[in-house]
Every structure is written in structure tokens, then in C-alpha cells.
């Protein structure tokens, strides 16, 4: 009985982390033998927390997200995501072009096991959430880049996961659209109370969005430093506080990159 109570107590709401990475390492077979990509990453994401992973090329950011998403296994260490399979958003929208915007979301709901009659209203609600109500029947190619990413966000939210993983989702967008989507993401994050693990190489983006910024070094990826960001929302990319912290983090990031030039 005691154990049953224990597992019951480990209900999603009462778990103290949305993701727990303990001593995670990953290596791939490379041209010169095993290549270490991630080295001893230990990181907790609290429920409802917004964390950005920041790093230059070759820091294994995307590898790390793949591991957390369960698309790949770590070489050593362990990863827990108590809220179930995390949702994942990519740099490209990754929407299915043979389905309309709404049907893309309905498919995610269907794969989650939502009964048929509930799918349509739920998909409409999610489109409403990303301010695309009325775009249910639109084909993917009829949408602009920003709209596609919002549909992709709605589809990720359709998984109803407590953890949203984002792999540079706005990197391919123009600056104005990206800025708007930053606001949207902040709003949706606060409305849904989801935890977000957001990967980027854009320092200002990281500071503008996150409660906590984690800097990864490159080759192999290690956690170099962490900052907590105590700037009031709503934030703007031009805010002095955002700029100041960005300068500090950029300095550190440049230092990390410089090390690779010295042999």
C-alpha cells in the first residue's frame, strides 16, 4: 500500500521537476573514433520554468534536445521527464504538407488518444490560442513563415505535454516576426504553465525569454555557466536590463569560442 501511495503522490503536479538530467554524456562514432559531444550534463527544469540553453556551434544543443525528447539515448547518465513524452518544436515548421493547419493539430490529438468528436473543437481552441482562429482549413503552403511556426506551436501544445522543447524555433524568421513570436511564446507559456527548454545561439533571444540561461561550452558540450534572469515581463529586446545581461553573457560566450582557436 505504501508504495502505491508513493507512486500516486508522484502525480505530475507534485513532481518537483519537469525534466531531470543527471550526468548525461553522449558520444558518436566519428572519423577519429568515438567523439564526445555532450559531457556530464546535469540540469533540472522546474515545473513551469523557462530555461534557455545557449551555445555556439558544436555545443550539442540539438543533440541534447533529441535526448530529452527520447529520439535518441544518452551514452551514459539518465534523463527523467515525469510529465510524459515531451513536445518538440524544430527550426523548420515540420508541419505535414498533406494536411491542413487544423488537421495537423488534429493528428497530434489523435495520436495522443483524444476521442474523435473532441478533436475538432480542441484544434480550434489551440489555433485560437496562437491567434490563428479561422485558419483551420488553410494549407501549410498558404501560410507565412510566422504563421507556420505558430501552427507548429499549436501542434506541439496539442500533445498536452508538461514540457515543451524548442530547437531554435524562430531562427529562420525575419526580425519583426521573431520579435512578435517572442511575445506570443511568453504569453502562451504563462497561460499554459508549461515548462520550456529552449535552445538558441542568440544571446538576446535567450535573455528576453528565459528565467534561467544556461551556457554550454563547445566540443564537448559542457555546462559552462548559468544566469537567472530577474527582469520583469513584459520584456523587450531593446530593454537596458536585457541588453546589459546580454553583453555579459556574450563576453563569456566569446571566451568559450576563443578557447577553440588556441591549440
Amino acid at each position: 500500500m505504501a508504495t502505491t501511495t508513493l507512486t500516486k503522490a508522484e502525480d505530475r503536479a507534485t513532481v518537483e521537476h519537469a525534466a531531470r538530467l543527471s550526468h548525461v554524456s553522449k558520444s558518436f562514432a566519428g572519423p577519429t573514433g568515438q567523439q564526445l559531444v555532450l559531457d556530464d550534463i546535469t540540469l533540472d527544469v522546474a515545473p513551469g520554468e523557462f530555461v534557455t540553453l545557449l551555445g555556439a556551434s558544436g555545443c550539442g544543443k540539438s543533440t541534447l534536445l533529441n535526448l530529452v525528447a527520447g529520439l535518441d539515448r544518452p551514452t551514459s547518465g539518465s534523463i527523467e521527464t515525469p510529465g510524459g513524452r515531451p513536445a518538440l518544436m524544430f527550426q523548420e515548421h515540420a508541419l505535414f504538407p498533406w494536411l491542413t493547419a487544423g488537421k495537423n493539430i488534429e493528428l497530434a490529438l489523435r495520436l495522443r488518444g483524444v476521442p474523435k468528436q473532441e478533436r475538432r473543437p480542441e484544434a480550434e481552441r489551440l489555433l485560437e490560442l496562437v491567434r490563428l482562429g479561422g485558419s483551420f482549413g488553410k494549407r501549410v503552403h498558404e501560410l507565412s513563415g510566422g504563421m507556420r511556426q505558430r501552427v507548429a506551436m499549436a501542434r506541439a501544445l496539442a500533445q498536452d505535454s508538461r514540457l515543451l522543447l524548442m530547437d531554435e524555433p524562430f531562427a529562420a524568421l525575419d526580425a519583426i516576426t521573431r520579435d512578435v513570436l517572442h511575445d506570443e511564446l511568453t504569453r502562451i507559456w504563462r497561460e499554459t504553465n508549461a515548462s520550456v527548454l529552449f535552445v538558441t545561439h542568440n544571446v538576446r533571444e535567450a535573455v528576453r525569454l528565459a528565467q534561467r540561461v544556461v551556457l554550454l561550452s563547445s566540443r564537448p558540450g559542457r555546462i559552462a555557466r548559468e544566469w537567472s534572469v530577474d527582469i520583469e515581463h513584459p520584456r523587450r529586446i531593446e530593454d537596458t536590463a536585457v541588453a546589459e545581461l546580454s553583453v555579459e553573457i556574450t563576453e563569456q560566450l566569446r571566451g568559450e569560442i576563443r578557447r577553440h582557436g588556441q591549440h
Binding site: 523548420e92 515540420a94 491567434r131 510566422g146 500533445q159 506570443e184 504569453r187
Partner: protein, 292 residues
């Protein structure tokens, strides 16, 4: 609080503006444009060929029993029509071809899926399947007659051997061309194994599969004609291939021309009526059809 509300309204307005500016306009082609651009040129080409043909006959480049005038071919078509045999002959072949093609689809699709998704199967029979595509299906007529006899089953066997490799190969290349990101996106949504195949891989591979079906039909039709020309027997009923062979036996050149034209016409008609619209619809709905 009031300031946050205004901000949210601002954002909604800003976003609506961006969406309106960035929205992709999809234009439908007007009917006139289709007529002038797509229908007129091939009609003109046909008229030119007939005119050239008639000129050759008028110039008497060869004896008339070798090159009959277009009017003679037309007359023999009208004759057949009046006897009521024209549609019957065409239908005999078309129904055989379509039924054989559907059997080929039923066999080729799971086979293609197996080759595309199972590594061992791919290395085992993938190359053979590609090789079979270049084997003329006429080659199968002789063994098919010996194994199965002069009957419809032999016809279907030849069609299957001609069309199944095309259909399977089309599906394989369709699956190979599915972007890995689409598969990954499907997996994060929980579409793995059979569910992934059904919801993600098959619909994503549809353009390549359709190309395979189109080729599969062409191969079905060709194989059937080969079988009908070579294997004639009163029990088989009169199809287009036999019509051609009868024309040869009776030294009836207009009849031979008519058969060839009918075979060509059926091939084009099926492609134009079934496969091209299907392919265009699939490509257009995915935004893959670029208008020049």
C-alpha cells in the same frame, strides 16, 4: 493591469497585420488560360501530323496498301462503330488492363513498403526489382502461356510481372524521399511503427507512389498489348492487340493503323482522365506545383 491589456491588444493587432502582409496568395488559373495554354497546343500538333500524313499519301511516296490515307483509317473506324464492335474491342482490353493494374497495385504496394522499410528485404530483392523494370514484359509471354495456357490468367500474369516492379519501385523512391524531419516530427507526436507508417510515411510518400502508379499503368497496358498480340485464341475474346494481329494477317493496313491509334488513344486517355488530375491535385494541395 490596463497596460498589460493594451499590450495584448497591440500584439494581436501587430500579428494580424504581419499575417495579412505575409499571407501567400493562391491564384486559380482561369478556364480560358487553360484552354489556350494546355488544350490548344496538343490539338494543333495532332492536326499537323494528320496534314503531314495526308501530304505524304498525296505525294505517293509509297504504295497505298503500305500507307493508307487518314480517311481510310477513319472509314474502318466508322465501319467498326456501325457493326458495334469498336467499343466492345476497346472495352475488352481496357477492362483487362484496369483489372490487372488493380491487382498489380494490391501486390506492388505492400511489396514496395516492405522493400522500403525492411533493410534485409531491400538488400535482398531491391536490385532485382529495379532490374525487372528494364525487362521487356514480352519476355514473360512465352513462359506464361506454357505455365497457364491461353487464357485470361496468362494475360493477368504478364500484366503483373510488368507492373508490380514499377509500382513497388515508385513507392520505394517515394518513401526514400520523405524528409527525415517529417519522420522525426511524427515520432515526437507518437507516430512510431505501424502508426508512423500509416499516418506519416505513406501520406508523405504519396507523390512518388503516384508517379509509380502512373508508370505502373503504362507498363500494364504495354504488357497486355504484348500478350494480346502474341497469344491469340478464339477463347480470349477480341481485344485491341488481337485486332492489330488480325489486321496483319489480313494485310489490312487501315485496320493496323486503327489498332495502333486506339492503343495509343486508350493509354493517353487513362493517363489524362485518371492519373494526371490525381497527381496535380496531390501536388497542388501540398504547394508543390509551381506555376511558371
Amino acid at each position: 493591469m490596463a497596460s498589460t491589456d493594451t499590450r495584448t491588444d497591440d500584439l494581436a493587432g501587430l500579428e494580424a497585420g504581419l499575417d495579412a502582409l505575409d499571407a501567400v496568395q493562391v491564384r486559380r488559373t482561369p478556364v480560358r488560360e487553360i484552354l489556350v495554354g494546355k488544350v490548344l497546343p496538343p490539338l494543333l500538333a495532332v492536326v499537323l501530323v494528320v496534314v503531314a500524313w495526308q501530304l505524304l499519301v498525296t505525294a505517293q511516296v509509297t504504295e497505298e496498301y503500305k500507307l493508307p490515307p487518314p480517311s481510310a483509317v477513319w472509314d474502318s473506324a466508322v465501319d467498326m462503330w456501325l457493326q458495334g464492335t469498336l467499343l466492345e474491342v476497346v472495352w475488352t482490353s481496357v477492362s483487362r488492363g484496369l483489372l490487372g493494374f488493380m491487382m498489380a497495385v494490391a501486390l506492388g504496394t505492400p511489396l514496395g513498403l516492405l522493400v522500403a522499410r525492411v533493410k534485409f528485404v531491400r538488400s535482398a530483392i531491391g536490385p532485382i526489382l529495379s532490374g525487372l523494370q528494364s525487362l521487356p514484359s514480352v519476355a514473360w509471354v512465352a513462359p506464361a502461356v506454357i505455365w497457364l495456357g491461353l487464357n485470361d490468367r496468362m494475360m493477368y500474369a504478364v500484366i503483373l510481372l510488368g507492373a508490380v516492379p514499377s509500382i513497388a519501385n515508385g513507392l520505394v523512391s517515394g518513401v526514400d524521399q520523405v524528409p527525415p524531419l517529417v519522420i522525426r516530427a511524427g515520432r515526437t507526436l507518437g507516430a512510431t511503427g505501424l502508426r508512423g507508417t500509416w499516418h506519416i510515411v505513406l501520406p508523405a510518400a504519396l507523390p512518388g507512389y503516384l508517379a509509380g502508379l502512373k508508370q505502373g499503368w503504362a507498363f500494364s497496358w504495354r504488357s497486355l498489348m504484348a500478350a494480346e498480340i502474341i497469344a491469340s485464341s478464339p477463347d480470349l475474346g477480341l481485344g485491341l492487340g488481337q485486332l492489330l494481329e488480325n489486321g496483319r494477317n489480313n494485310f489490312d493496313m487501315p485496320g493496323i493503323f486503327l489498332s495502333i491509334l486506339l492503343i495509343l488513344f486508350v493509354g493517353i486517355a487513362i493517363d489524362l482522365l485518371i492519373f494526371s488530375p490525381l497527381e496535380r491535385w496531390v501536388l497542388r494541395s501540398r504547394g508543390l506545383l509551381v506555376r511558371s
